[in-house]
Subunit: 295 residues, 2 copies
């Protein structure tokens, strides 16, 4: 853990600076939209996904200057999904990151537009000529991000999650839900580093395998934190999913079973990183960070 | 007019077929999302934007097979914007194309996800390896579409439109609203043809200039139709904007003034097409089609 925190803090600061620079200034007739986009993106957050992109790219000696752009695109998609998921028609969450959710700080219409505009901005950032990656890489990044975000990824997962309120999911179905809703974007965050680093297929597969374990572990840990339900730490409305009777890993496996699964995932993730030897130490620490976090 | 309709009908049929093929089948755990995406996209519509892309590309002898993909991406962005604009928190429209709006046929959460997933699909289509355009062209298309869709385009325009309910806009401000909300995507629909055709800068500028006139004329005609407010023809709730006291071109210019402006725009559009000589006859007819339409 101790070796990760300074590295992570430095990347998080770089990501914050880059996002601040890339988001539109709160000016123009649509200043309210710009302001709300900045609110939704720059309001803190762990920045797990962009850190993963930068750390994965470093395995292939890709300069941070090249990976930061892709990292920001991933984070914009994540931020848009939070603004939309928190809407009254979706999860109806009042709090996000310890502050009013975007639709509470502004209004519903603005929060919808914020998500829409952030998604467009993410793809704009990958396609812009001022991005150093070559055109084939930019297309590969656009394709991967679009698939992770769309009906076969994040949006599809959210649809399954909404429907899960009306039916009981099996463990396998919850696994599919997680793989789409949060797993696909976390996987792409790692894969982006491999794209930029022109990784060999087995390296790319190893990174994706690691990220799949990380994403699943992240969700299980989220469910455990939701069970503990301490809003002061998570900055979200505590215990919502559990109270809503939603099928979660913890509900199906029990708390002890969920913790056993976390341990198994740690072993699997570690095995996938073997191919990178000691260069992957940071990614190993990142797994611990995700499963040990308190919020 | 008469020369346009068969050409347009053939392209519209090709677009419909391509969209049907590219949209996900209503299967999988997220079948409801897929079904709603198909409902939102395949429910008819004039297909003005995709026709514009194909017609513009033909100026440069780009095969329809290459322009259809870009045309579909543009139409998916348009369809997503309708699904979101119709939401209760936005324009709260019950009808679209003579059928229940997406959030009425399904529900609000699904309609939000439909828009989100359609936007991602639009960018996926441009980036996919099965698209014949080279990587640099695909990046240029992605960039143009993202800018037309985002905070500096369609989303920004919708923000201004929502705020216009609370303040009175000047003619200049309405012009900016239109340029962003509907103009940017119509301009890109034409520009995409120039990108695919590797047009000379003056050809590209001429096409964009033509499309700007077309987009503005489209909006003024929309306002005139809204004033007439015949739901049976438009398939939308009639007279909504006018009744809501929204500032529109017709309200500020009067009906006669709006019709004069249409005539001026027709002359300007025609002048911009001169550079293409008789090859641009179809685009000239398209302008007439837009301003003469009854719905």
């Amino acid at each position: 853990m101790t070796s990760l925190e300074p590295a992570m803090a430095a990347v998080v600061a770089a990501v914050e600076g880059e996002l601040d620079r890339l988001l539109p200034a709160a000016a123009g007739q649509q200043a309210r939209l710009h302001e709300a986009m900045r609110y939704a993106v720059l309001g803190g957050g762990k920045r797990l996904r962009p850190f993963l992109t930068v750390a994965a790219a470093r395995l292939f000696e890709v300069p941070d200057a090249a990976s930061l752009r892709a990292a920001c695109a991933v984070e914009l998609i994540h931020a848009y999904s939070l603004a939309h998921d928190d809407l009254p028609a979706m999860d109806d969450a009042a709090l996000r990151r310890g502050r009013p959710a975007c639709h509470r700080a502004f209004d519903e219409a603005t929060a919808i537009l914020v998500g829409d505009a952030l998604q467009a901005l993410a793809f704009e950032l990958l396609a812009r000529d001022d991005y150093g990656a070559d055109a084939a890489q930019r297309c590969a990044l656009t394709l991967g991000l679009a698939r992770a975000a769309g009906a076969g990824g994040m949006c599809g997962g959210q649809m399954i999650d909404l429907e899960a309120e009306r039916r009981t999911l099996t463990l396998e179905q919850i696994g599919e839900l997680q793989r789409l809703k949060t797993g696909a974007l976390i996987r792409f965050a790692a894969e982006a580093g491999a794209v930029l680093g022109r990784a060999e297929p087995e390296q790319r597969a190893a990174l994706c395998g690691y990220a799949d374990c990380l994403g699943l572990a992240f969700q299980i840990k989220d469910d455990l934190l939701d069970l503990e339900g301490d809003t002061a730490l998570t900055g979200k409305d505590g215990g919502r999913d559990h109270a809503a009777g939603k099928a979660t890993f913890v509900r199906l496996l029990g708390e002890a079973g969920a913790r056993r699964m976390l341990a198994e995932l740690r072993d699997q993730a570690s095995a996938r990183l073997d191919i990178f030897q000691e260069r992957a130490t940071v990614l190993g620490c990142l797994f611990e960070f995700v499963t040990d976090r308190r919020s």
